[in-house]
């Protein structure tokens, strides 16, 4: 109980700090970095719904981000819709894309789903590069709305709400257990009366929706999107690294992975911007190395070690108590 209180207190402190951050720092650079860091946390946890919990790797997660971004850009610039109306549409568009993409691909076994989603994201990038209405390789420009605090809070609230929703659905509601059952043994889950196809589809849409919304916020915040920045493989690649490094199948793991990787990226970009390709090598190497040495990710490894530590002293303690009682 005390541990729970401590944890709640820590959480409350972190939340309070996050909300007070724009008041504490007056530096737009820091605010900008914080905004993007929060965005990556959101992308990573959304990715983990389908990858970590359901066991279906989506190597084209960036496609949903890009679809959200382009939907918002098109609605705002071509249809003159206000941001508040365009933003939900971005999420819905990503969700519909997941539905359409999921119908055939979710029937495939894990490996094929992974490569099919990856191929889909490459195809969508090509589409955006080649059609007229997205501006092709030149991308799209949005009207600038220069309120960094607004975007910070919007990102924070969106990612916070996503985190709470996912935490409830995956860690507290039966939905999470059902997904894990599919991950561990799809045939077995079917035998228990679950409908894996439907559940996988729900998880896929649940993963795509927040990603699309985040893409939309990103587009309006950065005010310029092009196929390589929003639909390129960088978004998907980084999401994979964050989740694998942090720990698949948890919510805190990807969040921590996202923060660490993004911090590394920011420092790397700041000091070594001439070696951007090196970053790609490091990302790939990091994936390979964490798979070999910490297959449960940073968080998973820490947690299992902690569990092992707390599990051991208990019998000793009980024996001590028993002895005291005997005396």
């Amino acid at each position: 109980m005390k541990a729970l209180n401590n944890r709640l207190g820590l959480m409350a402190l972190i939340v309070a700090l996050l909300f007070a951050l724009p008041l504490l720092v007056n530096d737009t650079f820091i605010l900008r970095v914080a905004t993007e860091a929060i965005m990556w946390v959101g992308l990573a946890i959304a990715f983990d719904v389908i990858a970590g919990y359901t066991g279906y790797l989506n190597f084209g997660h960036g496609a949903f981000f890009g679809i959200g971004a382009y939907t918002i850009a098109l609605l705002m610039m071509k249809a003159n819709l206000p941001f508040a109306l365009a933003l939900p549409a971005g999420g819905v568009a990503a969700g519909i894309a997941a539905l359409i993409a999921g119908i055939p691909t979710l029937r495939l076994k894990g490996a094929y789903f992974a490569i099919a989603t990856w191929a889909l994201s490459r195809a969508i990038q090509q589409l955006a590069l080649n059609v007229e209405w997205t501006g092709g390789p030149d991308g799209m420009r949005l009207d600038a709305y220069l309120h960094p605090e607004f975007f910070y809070y919007l990102m924070l609230v969106t990612v916070g709400a996503t985190f709470l929703l996912l935490w409830y659905l995956l860690e507290r509601a039966p939905f999470g257990l059902k997904l894990k059952a599919i991950r561990e043994d799809e045939e077995g889950a079917k035998a228990l009366g679950l409908n894996p196809t439907k559940l996988k589809m729900q998880a896929f849409i649940l993963s795509a929706l927040p990603t699309g919304v985040l893409g939309g916020i990103y587009a309006y915040w950065i005010t310029f999107i092009d196929p390589s920045s929003t639909l390129g493989d960088m978004v998907s690649d980084q999401a994979v690294v964050m989740v694998v490094f942090g720990g698949m199948g948890t919510l805190f793991g990807p969040a921590i992975g996202a923060l660490l990787i993004f911090a590394f990226k920011t420092v790397f970009w700041a000091y070594l911007s001439d070696y951007q390709l090196l970053y790609l090598i490091i990302l790939g190497a990091l994936i390979a190395v964490s798979v070999i040495f910490i297959p449960n990710g940073l968080w998973g490894t820490l947690m299992s070690r902690k569990k092992a530590e707390t599990a051991r002293p208990e019998p000793v303690l009980k024996a001590g108590v028993a002895q005291e009682e005997a005396n």
Binding site: L57, P104, Q126, L283, G284, I287, V291, P295
Partner: protein, 294 residues
Amino acid sequence: MELLPQALADGILLGGIYITIAIAFSLTYGVMHVIDFAVGEWIMFGAFTGYYLNKWTGLDPFLFMPVIFAAYFVVGYLVQPVIHRVLSGTKGNPFLMGLVFTFGLAIMFKGLALTVFGYYSNSIPSMFSEGAFTFENLGAGVTIPTVRLVGLIYALAITAALHYLLKKTNFGLGVRALAQHKDAAGLMGVNSKRTGSYVYGIYVGISAMTGVLLGCILSIGAQMGNEYTIFAFFVVVLAGMGYLAGVPWAALLLGMVQSIFMIYFNPSHTLLAVFVILYLILLISPRGLFAKGV
């Protein structure tokens, strides 16, 4: 319609080359049960090795192909134990991890290639790249560049060699047994570790060697890998997973699609067309063109 015979001929010639990659790719999947995301990157590495060897020695790239096969066979043979280790791990989900691992390899290789080779694209000159055969008596003229014809001969030779290896040798029997049932094959005395290493080596070798050929026919660039990974996947899924006999037909279809898009439409829409076809076929028949996949 004048160009149709030409498009079909190009498609067959190109598809023939894809057969070699796809067979090796699905063989690896059969034995290791993991899709190798780095397939396109092996092709790209092979192509660049051929390119630089040609530049330094001035010899014809076709002469290097056996050397490149041998070199990349060794590379694959040495890389496979790492993948095997990931796959036989007890922590986490080994199967997912294997997939993630090859994905990481692919990213790393692409980064390496972009760093070393840069963004430019090139092609490898060969003694075959000049000449062409022209057939006038087919209603419309069909031109077949010599290099593509040589490519088809190469593809047939490799396919025949793989067929012989799989069907007529003890090693091939072991490979097929492993693909059917790993544990039972192990009980019958098939060393899954070593066989896996050989198969992966053969696959990496063939992919790299085919890369040289693709570099002679089309072009090479550090980012070419993406496209070929998608192609390999397309062929294997279309054929029906694990159904080797379907691979040649699916590869030929892919070649056709690519050449038709090159001639009639915008070649940069090829990937999109490939995906749409794949999508529709999976909707109608998830087990591939012949409904014989797993």
